[in-house]
């Protein structure tokens, strides 16, 4: 699962998995009011029309930012799913900085600061999970999931209480001058992807991460510090997700309102990371693909397709690819 090599069997497996996954997606979608025809038309529209490509690029960056950090964490065997909460927290602090802090910063200062602030608060949230795992042996999957729900309800609390404006439970909107276009957002995601790739392939920490992830005992025997490794990947994955959250707020979310379920970009990041076999560079096309599915799902919301369909389809695709990859070694 952690290998970087590409061979023909893998390619066949991935292709078959994608075909199987998309077929299942069409079948599943056909039970909704949008119907088989609606999903098929929308699928063609998403890839042939220029308009949806802009949406795809806009929604891509939080998914990609979360996923690139997760690839590093997963290679170290730190299975966090906290990216969902970290993205939301990054978005919350960004909204605070530009609208509620009262600082009235110049956009050229506010945008980089909010991206860094989002990253640092995300990293802090990641660090909590890392500390619980390293010093208290608490399972990081459960701890990070619980924190996702905590951040979700904190966000709902802010939107319905302290930050509420007007008669509806919604916060102030990010000012026009602070908003980001898709190209800047994609640029940040690409930079993060290359940094993570560089870290994994060209640095001693990257080597330590890979060794520890594959064989923790061997790593300890050779004098690597497992606590430092886990804490650093917890910080890093939290940082990239937090940056994704800042981009989400400045790029397209713009405000907060109460939600019954999280927006899902962090969970999509988890899926993307698995789909790309934890390779930070493969994450970029994979996030583009998942973002296009999200655009497809959103375009059909008015026709009655629930937005939960998007995550279900993405999860089904990842599972199909995993099954196809596993069977490709056996059957052909």
């Amino acid at each position: 699962m952690l290998a970087l090599k590409v061979d023909s069997k893998q390619v066949v497996g991935v292709t078959l998995g994608l075909v199987l996954g998309l077929t299942l997606a069409l079948i599943l979608g056909s039970i909704s009011p949008a119907g088989f025809r609606g999903i098929l038309d929308s699928l063609v529209w998403v890839y042939t029309n220029p308009v949806p490509h802009v949406f795809t690029l806009t929604l891509l960056s939080p998914i990609a930012c979360a996923a690139v950090g997760l690839t590093v964490a997963y290679r170290a065997g730190f299975i966090t799913v906290g990216s969902e909460g970290q993205i939301l927290l990054g978005a919350i602090v960004t909204l605070w900085l530009v609208e509620y802090s009262g600082l009235n910063l110049n956009p050229q200062v506010a945008i980089p600061i909010s991206i860094l602030l989002g990253g640092f608060t995300g990293a802090l949230l990641g660090l909590i999970v890392g500390v619980l795992r390293v010093y208290f042996n608490v399972n990081e999957i459960l701890a990070s999931l619980m924190l996702n729900y905590v951040i979700l309800y904190v966000s709902n609390h802010l939107a319905s209480g302290p930050w509420r404006v007007g008669p509806f439970a919604i916060t102030r909107s990010v000012g026009e001058e602070y908003r980001l276009g898709p190209l800047v957002m994609v640029f940040v995601a690409v930079v993060l992807a290359f940094l993570c790739w560089f870290l994994l392939t060209r640095s001693s920490l990257g080597l330590a991460i890979k060794v520890y992830g594959r064989a923790p005992r061997v790593a300890e025997t050779y004098g690597l510090n497992p606590k430092a490794i886990v804490l650093s990947v917890a910080l890093l994955s939290g940082f990239t997700s937090g940056v994704g959250g800042a981009l989400m707020m400045l790029g397209f979310q713009h405000s907060l309102s109460p939600m019954s379920v999280s927006p899902g970009y962090g969970y999509m990041g988890v899926l993307v990371s698995w789909l790309s076999s934890n390779n930070p560079l493969v994450v970029l096309p994979a996030s583009w693909f998942f973002s296009s599915i999200l655009v497809l799902g959103r375009s059909l919301q008015a026709s009655g397709l629930p937005i939960g369909y998007v995550l279900a389809v993405q999860a089904v695709i990842v599972l199909s690819v995993m099954i196809a990859r596993r069977l490709s070694g056996r059957w052909w």
Binding site: I79, V138, L147, Y149, G161, V270, L305, A312, A315
Partner: protein, 283 residues
């Protein structure tokens, strides 16, 4: 409300967490962890409401709900036990798929159906299960050869295989049972707690609280049921806790999640000093 009222309410609200946690306990006792509990609960809630709304009775809905959970857990059995895919990845995939499929089922329009009223025969049976099941499972796990086989597989898979124990069969059974129980739990949430309605995000992460309860109860049937009950007690006393601490009511929903993280930390510290308490090794 006085304390006794809270205790009784917590039992009624705790049924889904207790059932799902007991099912997951069996899975983890056999050496696997199915993180898909929340998704199985949501999917079964949607399916059970749809079936009940079509048939006009909650009983077929309850059965369909159990089978819906079983169906999702079968994906887990095939991919994890059969194809040896990563159990964590598959579990999370099932969790996400279940939530999405649930919304998809509800989008067909069958979102409201008959409900199971408090104190009805069916409701009493379901509540009684939370008391009977822990004891029954305790007897099965600790006093029958099947239980010994199950626990042996959870402690050391390779030795169990060497000794000729039916590792894959036992795991298929526990995973299916876990799916069935998560399914009934989800159906209960829709039929009893939310008056026969399904809505997006119905489980509110209770499946994850159930998985947390398994560790808090230290994989013992009675302990798991008590831990799940304690979590439920925390959920029903949230408003009281908030007003005592002077917190605004909108921040209250975070309490069970923070409490479970703290409790997991405490359990981990306490049990680390006692090498005699060896948990199975699923996570």
């Amino acid at each position: 409300m006085v304390l006794a009222d809270f205790m009784a309410t917590a039992l009624i609200w705790g049924v889904p967490i207790i059932l799902a946690a007991l099912g997951e306990m069996l899975v983890e006792r056999s050496g696997r962890v199915n993180l898909g509990v929340d998704g199985m609960m949501a999917f079964s809630a949607a399916v059970s409401v749809a079936v009940a709304s079509i048939t006009g009775s909650p009983i077929p809905g309850l059965i369909a709900g159990g089978l819906a959970g079983l169906a999702l857990s079968t994906i887990y059995t095939i991919t994890v036990v059969g194809l040896k895919l990563d159990q964590i990845v598959v579990g999370l995939i099932i969790a996400l798929t279940g939530l999405g499929l649930a919304d998809l089922v509800a989008s067909t329009g069958h979102k409201i159906g008959p409900y199971i009223p408090y104190g009805s025969m069916l409701h009493n049976i379901l509540v009684a299960m939370t008391v009977i099941l822990p004891i029954a499972l305790w007897i099965i796990l600790y006093r029958t050869p099947y239980g010994v086989e199950l626990r042996a597989i959870g402690y050391d898979e390779s030795i169990a295989r060497e000794r000729g124990l039916r590792v894959d069969l036992v795991r298929a059974i526990t995973i299916s049972t876990g799916g069935l129980m998560a399914g009934v739990a989800g159906a209960y949430m829709a039929f009893v707690l939310y008056n026969g309605r399904y809505f997006s995000g119905i489980t509110g992460g209770w499946g994850w609280l159930a998985i947390g309860s398994v560790i808090l109860g230290y994989w013992h049937p009675v302990g798991v049921a008590l831990a799940a009950y304690a979590v439920s007690l925390l959920i029903v006393t949230r408003p009281l806790i908030a007003s005592e601490l002077g917190l605004p009511p909108t921040i209250v929903p975070i309490t069970p999640y923070i409490a479970v993280v703290i409790a997991l930390t405490i359990v981990s510290i306490v049990t680390r000093r006692k090498p005699s308490l060896i948990p199975p090794k699923p996570l």
